[in-house]
Each structure stands twice: as C-alpha cells, then as structure tokens.
C-alpha cells in the first residue's frame, strides 16, 4: 500500500517553476560563458593562485575557529537553562541576517586600531587585525560561526541527555563525558557544521573587504579577486566563479544525507 501522490494546486505551479528558473539560470549562464579551453591557465595565474592560497588559509582557519569556539557555545546553548541564554542565541544568529558589510563595519569599530577593543589589542598585546590576514580570518569566522553553532545545537538537542546520564551513572565526569561520549557521537554533525561554516567562510565578501580590505596575497580572497577581475579580465572572473561553484556543489553533495532525506 502506498499513499497517493498529492495533487499540486494549479496556481502554485508557475511561481514554483519561476523560482527554480531563477536559481538554475545563473548557474547555466556561468557554465555557458566559462572559458573552458583556458580554464586551467586562468586558474593558475599568479593573482588567482595568490587568492586561492589566501582563501584556503582564511577559510580553513575560520572553520577551525568555529570548531574551537562554536562547539563549546553550542553545548551551552543546547544544555543550559540559565537566564540570558535566549539573548545569547539571538547574538549567535545575528550574523546570519546582518548585512555582511555591517558586520565588517562593526568589526572595524570594535577591533580596528581606533576601536575600543582594537586599541587595547594594538597597544597592549601588539596584535593588529584590520587589513591583515588575521583580520580576514576574524571577519570570516564572524559570518561563519552561526552555521556551525546552529548545526551542532540542534544535533545536541536531538540527541538529548540520555547518554550523558548513562555516562554520569557509571562515574564519568562532565568533561570526560563530553570527550568520550558527546564528541564521538556528534562526529557527523561536527563534519556537517565544519563543511557549512567552511563554505560560508570561503564565500565571504562584504565583512572581509570592509574589515580587512583587498590586499593581494594577504587579504584578497577568491571572491574579492573575482570582483576585481570583473573590471579588467571578466573571463578570469568567470573561471574563478566556476571553481567556487564546483566547491559549493561538492559541499552540498557531501551533506546530502544530512539535509536531503530523499
């Protein structure tokens, strides 16, 4: 016995098709315009290789920071019932809805040389963030962190506290339980969170250019290089776009089991 297919209400069909077209057409446009014969050549030019290196360093570091900072935060959000948790969660989600350029501006005013915290960092500790690779990493982490935290928080909530109780009931301390039960049982969610936050960091543009600028070999990531190349060498811009598209599709395919049940 199978359930019959639901009849789609007719007025919904056209808008749905248009929506798919809006999402699919640009991808086809990119693939049609791509300079396939000179693709490798364009992707291995010095400027693109530099941007690739910067992008890899920045996105991988941002993903690592998301893991190191976001996993503890996700645990707290999933398990704590203290007051203020709701406000904390709102701040975690903020970068998802905030225009990235606003995020970059905010970072500049907080962590820039004249910013209230940046001044202390600069004079006190000797760390300068704006217009450095480290600054680009901070900007990428700022926008990518919510993706990691929300993925892990929902997975931790779904798992519940049964296994934590089982571990405590045989004498395991909360930290030992985190290391020996939570981490290994959350491997899949951690991988998904890393992939998502890494992909978001890789695509980051607005916060990066505002906070870290577009300095070749230091803060000019692949998206920034693409934007720059559009003016002078549009075919290279398309080539980089094809590369980034391929990376994004790979992430989607890798995560399909997580989000696409069917």
């Amino acid at each position: 016995m199978t359930t019959p297919r639901r009849t789609i209400p007719r007025p919904l069909i056209l808008p749905a098709v248009l929506a798919v077209a809006l999402l699919v057409l640009p991808v086809f446009g990119l693939l049609l315009e791509a300079p396939w014969s000179s693709l490798i050549e364009r992707l291995t030019s010095e400027a693109v290789l530099d941007a690739m290196r910067v992008s890899l360093v920045v996105s991988a570091s941002a993903a690592a920071l998301c893991l190191a900072l976001g996993l503890p935060l996700a645990w707290v959000l999933a398990n704590s019932e203290r007051r203020g948790i709701g406000v904390m969660r709102a701040f975690v989600l903020l970068p998802m809805v905030l225009p990235p350029v606003v995020g970059g501006t905010a970072l500049l005013f907080a962590l820039g040389r004249r910013g209230f915290f940046g001044e202390w960092l600069d004079w006190g500790v000797g760390i300068t963030l704006p217009f450095t690779t480290a600054g680009a990493i901070v900007a990428a982490t700022f926008v990518a962190l919510p993706f990691f935290v929300t993925t892990l928080e929902s997975s931790l909530r779904e798992q519940g506290t049964n296994l934590d109780e089982a571990a405590a009931a045989v004498g395991s301390s909360p930290w030992a339980t985190f290391v020996h039960v939570t981490l290994p049982t959350q491997r899949g969610a951690i991988a998904a969170g890393l992939a998502l936050s890494w992909a978001r960091a890789l695509g980051e543009f607005g916060a990066t250019i505002t906070f870290a600028g577009s300095l070749g070999g230091r803060t000019r990531t692949l998206p920034l290089e693409t934007f720059l190349a559009l003016e002078s060498d549009p075919e290279s811009a398309v080539a980089i776009s094809v590369l980034l598209l391929a990376v994004s599709l790979t992430v989607l395919i890798a995560l399909r089991g997580k989000w696409f049940a069917r």
Binding site: E165, A167, A169, G171
Partner: protein, 215 residues
Amino acid sequence: MSSIKVSGQMQRGDLSLQLDLGLEVGLTMITGANGAGKTSLLRLIAGFERLDAGHLTLDGHTVDDAARTFVPTHQRSIAYVFQDHRLFPHLSVLDNVAFPHRRRGVKKAAASARAQIHLTDVGLSEQAAIRPTQLSVGQQQRVALARALATPADILLLDEPLAAADDESRGALRELIINAPHSTVLWVTHDPDDADRGDHRIAVAEGRVEQNRKR
C-alpha cells in the same frame, strides 16, 4: 556501608513524590504500579532529579538538601541500569562495559580484561566486538547490566533490569544481581518472583512510599 535516607518532596509534572525513607545495606525490592514514582525515586538517588524540599543523605553525607547542597551524579557512589538501557552507540559491547573502568584511569588492556569477565557473566562474551545496535533488546539489557555491575560503587540502582530477559537467562541474571558486589541494591521490578528475593521491600503508590519493612 551505604545507607540511604531521604525525607522530603519532589514534584515532576503530574507526579508528586512524598518521601520518608531509610534504607540499610542489602537488597531492597521496589514495587508499584506504572507511573507511581519508582523510576523518579531511583533518579532522585542518582542525582538526575532534585528534591523540592527535604534532604537526601547517602552513607551519612547530605547529597541534596533542596537548596545549596547538591552532589552531582558522577560524584555519588552509584551505578545505574536504565529501563531503556542507554548503551553507547559508538562503542563496541566490550568498550561499553569497560567504560566505567576507563573513566577511573584503568589502562585499556586491563579494563578490557575486566569487561570480558563481566560480559561472560551475562553470557555475551562472544558478542564483545560488535556494536550494541546489532544486539537484540534482551541482549542490550544484559550489556547494560554488565556495565553497571562493572562499576565500582556502593549503591546499585536497577530499573526493571530483567524486563527484557528471556526465561532461560532470567534465573542466572537474578542470581548475578543478588550476588552483586555493591553493598546497597535498589531493584525496581514487576516480577513477583524477583520481589520475593529482597532483604527489604518498598511499595510505591501514587507518589507515596507505603512500606519500609524488613522481611
């Protein structure tokens, strides 16, 4: 050693548990209808629930006074068999049973050797290498029992530990529990044959502990 004293009250949803209970060393059987509060009583002693009023002392030490004092589960000398087993899905059957020893700093080889003995006791030595999800429900429950028996603690809390046991193994498992090294054993059961075996017996009805008599 390990006496349990609890007097006070806890409220969880619809259930209000009124407690005035003193348990000495030995095997105490806990009976009562579903939803009467048997599991809540075990969870309270384990530290998964808190008292709303009153206090709980284990071996003379207050571990919960409904106010400032609260000793968390892992610092209470307890082992627990859950009704729903709660085996670690990422560990082999052997590593599940070795887990309590590993968390007490026992080296892997020694912990595995001890775990193997406990698995043999519950008749699952041949399933050591597989994951708990590949076992039948009855087998999973035996692993949960082995894990609790492997836990060095004064108090053993058992929530229907033989509910899924087949008739063949029930007798041997019952003897295993009766001979457990833990000084104080609380055993929630529906089975009248089990209930007859304890040193003490408590009936929990509608959140009230009705008797606390020595047989």
